[in-house]
């Protein structure tokens, strides 16, 4: 056993000194390789954590949301629809939701204004998300000026700021009373943005949605399962952002592996020829080349995974923020709860380490099987 381990240690020593002889090439290779693993691992960690967060938080979303559609577009819904929908068997509670958007030209930010059923502030006051407070530099007790539907400034007192930890769901929220909301937007009485339904039995969601569409063909019911599925598909591996990241990483890796698989450099062939001429067996040469591949790929894999974990869960993925932000000025600051499991790591390992190691061995085997003299002369 000791002899076996000693043989491998000697070969690792030789492989390391061989790699260090071509220091510049191998260090740059290791850096690029680590960067690719880092990108793929960061994407996987970020998406999995966001998916988990969305699933846990949005499980309390309304069971069914009913929108009214006019000419294929979302329109205001009459509260009288709610009374009729409430009479459908199985529907518990129907609450009209009042919400809309407000563009703040001073900061260039879009806010979501809403008048919730519960947790309303006092008249003339607002509760704001911590993203709004940050962008507008507001604190509790300050006044916020918003221009109403006819352009007149409305002064609203900040009653409370929602906690920083709620930024992922409420960073851009401005909560006000129903009367303030209706006055601000000249929102017609007896109408709401949409209706939120509570249904006792989750098995009846689809049946109730079908009954709503049957009774009101101009409505569009959105089930809670669809809301949850939205975030599953948004952060799916086939989703826009993920597929771009994985595509870039995959292509870079392909170039890498192609470079390795198409053959060794003249210096490497010469080295193999010399080793064979001084008595190394083909199996020894292959073992040496395998260790060279393993040293590079394993180091890149381990450091890439650790760096990606720190990037996403300790530093809140600053590299992704720009991609997610787009043209938006208000981007929530959030710290994701880590999600990592053996399956993710195993998939990452087999996608990165195994192909590279294989791509290193094949050309070495070709060179190692030819005559040492021919290998040295080539």
């Amino acid at each position: 056993m000791n002899r076996f381990l000693e043989r491998h240690r000697n070969i690792i020593d030789f492989a390391l000194s061989s790699l260090l002889r071509r220091k510049a090439k191998n260090i740059s290779l290791l850096l690029v390789y680590t960067l690719i693993v880092f990108m793929v691992a960061s994407t996987i960690f970020f998406m999995q954590a966001l998916k988990r967060e969305a699933a846990l938080v949005l499980k309390e979303a309304p069971d069914i949301v009913v929108q009214r559609m006019i000419a294929g577009r979302h329109d205001l819904i009459s509260v009288s629809y709610g009374e009729k929908i409430g009479a459908i068997r199985g529907v518990g509670e129907v609450r009209p939701r009042l919400w809309g958007y407000y563009y703040d030209p001073v900061n260039g930010v879009n806010y979501t204004l809403m008048a919730p059923f519960s947790q309303q502030p006092a008249a003339g006051s607002i509760i704001i998300g911590s993203g709004v407070a940050r962008i507008s530099r507001l604190s509790k007790g300050d006044f916020m000026v918003l221009r109403n539907f006819d352009g007149r400034p409305t002064l609203l007192k900040v009653e409370r700021i929602l906690p920083y930890s709620s930024e992922l769901i409420a960073a851009d929220l401005i909560i006000m009373t129903e009367s303030d909301f209706r006055t601000f937007f000249a929102f017609p009485e007896g109408h709401a943005t949409d209706l939120a339904l509570t249904v006792g039995n989750r098995n009846e969601f689809t049946t109730i949605a079908a009954k709503i569409v049957q009774q009101f063909p101009d409505t569009r019911p959105i089930l809670k399962s669809e809301i949850l599925r939205t975030y599953d598909s948004v952060f799916d591996w086939r989703g826009g952002m993920v597929v771009v990241m994985l595509g870039v990483a995959g292509l870079s890796f392909l170039i890498f592996a192609w470079d390795k698989a198409t053959g060794l450099s003249a210096e490497e062939r010469k080295e193999i020829g010399i080793l064979k001429s001084i008595g190394w067996e083909t199996a020894d040469v292959l073992l040496l080349k395998s260790w060279e591949g393993v040293i590079i790929s394993l180091s890149a894999f381990l450091s890439g995974v650790i760096l990606a974990y720190c990037h996403v869960f300790f530093f809140s993925a600053p590299l992704f923020a720009h991609a997610l932000k787009g043209w938006a000025v208000l981007y929530p600051q959030f710290r994701l709860t880590p999600v990592i499991n053996a399956y993710q790591l195993a998939v990452l390992f087999f996608l990165t380490v195994v192909p590279y190691s294989a791509a290193t061995i094949i050309p070495s085997w070709w060179t190692a099987t030819v005559d040492p003299d021919a290998a040295m002369r080539s």
């Binding site: 020593d13 938080v57 929108q67 958007y101 879009n110 930890s165 939120a196 997610l324």
Partner: protein
């Protein structure tokens, strides 16, 4: 020190750190549970439907609520205006059609 010893030590340390990552994740999940529950409670009270991730356009701010025509506001073949709209694919159920 032999180079192989150094390599084995560094690699073992990295493997141990990688092995500790799931434990750290589990510990943080326990710690963040209260925050997640508070956020879920806020979602329930305010009847929220979406995460506040992309605030640049209404159909990316509320992808679950967006109507099917939202990204093509000007005409059916209009190009997408917003960067996040090209990163976020439409939800599966929107692609299934009515």
């Amino acid at each position: 020190m032999r180079m192989s010893t150094l390599f084995i030590l560094v690699t073992s340390a990295c493997v141990i750190i990688c092995g500790l990552l799931p434990l750290h994740a589990r510990q943080r999940q326990g710690k963040d549970k209260a925050t997640l529950l508070a956020n879920a409670e806020l979602v329930k009270k305010l009847q929220l439907t979406d995460l506040c991730l992309f605030t640049e356009a209404r159909y990316t701010r509320h992808p679950a609520m967006a109507d099917r025509h939202a990204p093509f506001q000007d005409h059916p073949l209009a190009l997408e205006h917003f960067p996040s709209g090209s990163l976020v694919t439409p939800p599966h159920f929107h692609r299934e059609g009515p």
